[in-house]
């Protein structure tokens, strides 16, 4: 009661000032983010030879040498990484929440490790390990696996590394989602109503964690589509490494690809946030 009575009543002047402040912040942030983007777009549509505006750099993207391969490779890696990271983090998260709450600090700590270890250190370790394949481990199944994981057409080793890199983000997203729904009570309710564990996960938890799962997937996707260091050092050609390569030869083409991929990423974000909307009406099934 006292809390209600003693809560300060906000004066209109204060609220007005706060509004003005937020508008200023919004403008500063907008300038910070949009000006470089606008500059990039302007750079890509300038016709340096004839003057004026041209869309030729965008239309020439699909034919650029190596682009189609790099894009296909990056998308494949991204999809595999998303599936992989969900396969690792979702069951781990459910296990920690429902059955092994005492392991939560340990799992949380482990999930944060990839953020603490610099990618450059990670990739150095990966490279040394890969070197064992054709070397000490030659002829063994593990050695063969290490060799075949480096297929330049579809380097599975990158999927493995990306799953590790994406774990902190996926874990955070799922953690926030699971904390928001009181999973414990929902699980008890579903169990009490006769659900098997499979039903609990499939009919209750996953539908209510849809936003969190999509968020985890999207963060992973974004990470894989933009990752340069590891792919570059391991000498695989993905979209980011191709971009860097092409930027030395054709600056405007490279920037137009970057811009296009940025817009593509935004589009994905939009799709995710639309898909996460709560249903307001639905067929009664």
């Amino acid at each position: 009661m006292t809390a209600v009575l003693t809560r300060p009543v906000e004066a209109p002047a204060v609220r007005g000032r706060r509004n003005a402040t937020s508008i200023v912040v919004l403008i500063v942030a907008g300038v910070y983010f949009l000006v470089p983007l606008a500059a990039a777009i302007w750079f890509t549509v300038q016709d340096k030879v004839h003057g004026g505006v041209t869309g030729e750099y965008y239309t020439s993207i699909p034919q650029a040498e190596g682009f189609a391969g790099a894009l296909r490779r990056s998308l494949t890696l991204a999809v595999l990484s998303v599936l992989g990271v969900l396969l690792v983090t979702v069951p781990a998260m459910l296990a920690v929440t429902l059955r092994l709450p005492r392991l939560r600090p340990l799992v949380e700590g482990l999930s944060l490790l990839p953020l603490v270890i610099p990618p450059i250190a990670l990739v150095a370790g990966v490279r040394d390990m890969l070197a064992l394949g054709p070397d000490q481990l030659a002829g063994t199944p593990l050695g063969d696996a290490l060799v075949s994981s480096q297929d330049p057409d579809l380097p599975i080793i990158l999927v493995v590394v990306y799953i590790v890199l994406a774990t902190p983000f996926a874990y955070r997203s799922l953690d926030a989602g699971i904390r928001a729904v009181d999973a414990r009570t929902l699980v008890d309710a579903a169990r009490g109503l006769g659900s098997s564990w499979f039903d609990v996960v499939w009919r209750v938890l996953l539908p209510n964690l849809r936003g969190a799962v999509l968020g985890a997937a999207f963060l992973t996707l974004g990470l894989v589509l933009g990752e340069y260091t590891i792919a570059g050092i391991l000498l695989f050609e993905t979209l980011p490494t191709w971009l860097v390569k092409i930027s030395g030869q054709n600056g405007q083409l490279s920037v137009s690809v970057s811009t296009a991929s940025l817009l593509f990423t935004w589009l994905l974000l939009l799709v995710v946030s639309l898909a996460d909307r709560r249903p307001t009406s639905r067929r009664d099934s």
Binding site: A190, R191, L193, D199
Partner: protein, 360 residues
């Protein structure tokens, strides 16, 4: 389906060093509505969760009818449960929530929809089937949760403080409705609550728990008028704690009079605490009295007077309002204990709870 009884025998459950259940024996008759009442940490929720199968007991057995279900998984127990927290599945409509248990049982769509609609009607939400949980008020959500629990035709209905998150008015309304539905369906019900008003008003019998055991299991009237132990007496309703001297022959001297000692008293002869209900006190205006009226509160038929005794202790006295009409704060009065046996506790005994200005 005819109602079944429930027996929990010798239940033990420890969480680390805390004994949540310490040899609990609880027998619920078929179709009976039992409320478990007790301070927080007394083990009442653990008892309910063990019965539901969400917790496993360290020792003891659980029987429903003549079947031992001690080791049975919760999804095989056929019990309907309503939780304290709002537990509806946020992604499903009210009707789909109610039908959930039937869906996992493989009941076909038309039968499911029919049953969900019937149950929503039963809890007074016939029109709300297409709404999602976030479009319902707290009271409506708990009604849907009740309908969902009943949809599977459970053998036992479990209610885990289902009203505690609701507003006072909704709470009373839903409480009465739960009782009405329970009586209509004749379903064996266990209701856990820390609110004695709730427990006493709806249950056939109320079990008062303390430290993992049942202190007393009795109908509300017996519980209130003939508490088995000082703890029960003080936990249920309001009790005055008056100083007294216990004699050797089963009588106790309190406020200048000798009264017989009630069964269940726990004290050795000598200085003791005498427990007396406010309505069992007597009071008369008297200029030579040693007690002083401090506060007067009007409760309709009764008026409660808060009185400071000669030794500085305070006591409540409930009088029929007409009898209290002439008595004002500041008056000196003589206070006594009415005829009849009184409950006695050891002098060092701590109160079950701080006597509060509330009605039982």
């Amino acid at each position: 389906m005819s109602a079944v009884g429930v027996r929990m025998l010798g239940m033990r459950r420890s969480f680390g060093a805390v004994r949540a259940l310490d040899g609990l024996d609880l027998v619920i008759e078929p179709g009976e509505f039992i409320a478990l009442l007790g301070p927080s940490g007394c083990g009442k929720t653990t008892a309910l969760r063990v019965l539901a199968g969400f917790e496993t007991a360290d020792a003891g057995s659980v029987w429903v009818g003549d079947r031992d279900i001690t080791g049975l998984a919760p999804n095989k127990r056929d019990m309907g449960m309503v939780f304290q927290a709002f537990s509806l599945f946020p992604n499903l409509t009210a009707a789909d929530n109610v039908a959930f248990g039937l869906r996992v049982r493989g009941v076909d769509g038309a039968a499911r929809r029919k049953r969900a609609a019937d149950l929503l009607e039963l809890v007074g939400l016939g029109q709300a089937g297409k709404r999602y949980p976030h479009q319902l008020s707290g009271g409506q959500q708990q009604r849907v949760a009740l309908a969902r629990a009943l949809a599977i035709e459970p053998r036992v209905l479990l209610l885990d403080e289902p009203l505690s998150a609701l507003d006072a008015q909704v709470r009373v309304q839903l409480r009465d409705e739960i009782r009405r539905i329970q009586q209509r369906l004749g379903i064996t019900t266990l209701f856990v609550t820390h609110d004695q008003g709730e427990a006493l008003s709806v249950a056939d019998r109320v079990g008062v728990m303390r430290a993992g055991r049942l202190e007393q299991l009795a109908d509300p009237d017996t519980l209130y008028h003939r508490p088995a132990t000082p703890f029960v007496g003080e936990f249920v309703g309001t009790m005055n704690r008056l100083p007294g001297v216990l004699g050797p022959h089963g009588t106790v001297r309190v406020l200048g009079a000798d009264r017989p000692v009630a069964e269940g008293s726990e004290a050795a002869p000598g200085d003791v605490v005498v427990l007396v209900r406010p309505e069992a006190m007597t009071l008369s205006a008297s200029d030579s009295g040693t007690a002083l009226v401090v506060v007067r509160t009007f409760h309709g038929a009764l008026t409660r007077l808060s009185v400071r005794l000669g030794d500085g202790d305070e006591a409540f006295v409930d009088l029929p309002s007409p009898a209290a009409a002439g008595i004002r704060p500041g008056d000196t009065v003589t206070v006594g204990v009415g005829e009849g046996a009184v409950l006695v506790a050891a002098a060092g005994d701590t109160p079950a709870r701080v006597p509060a200005h509330e009605d039982a």
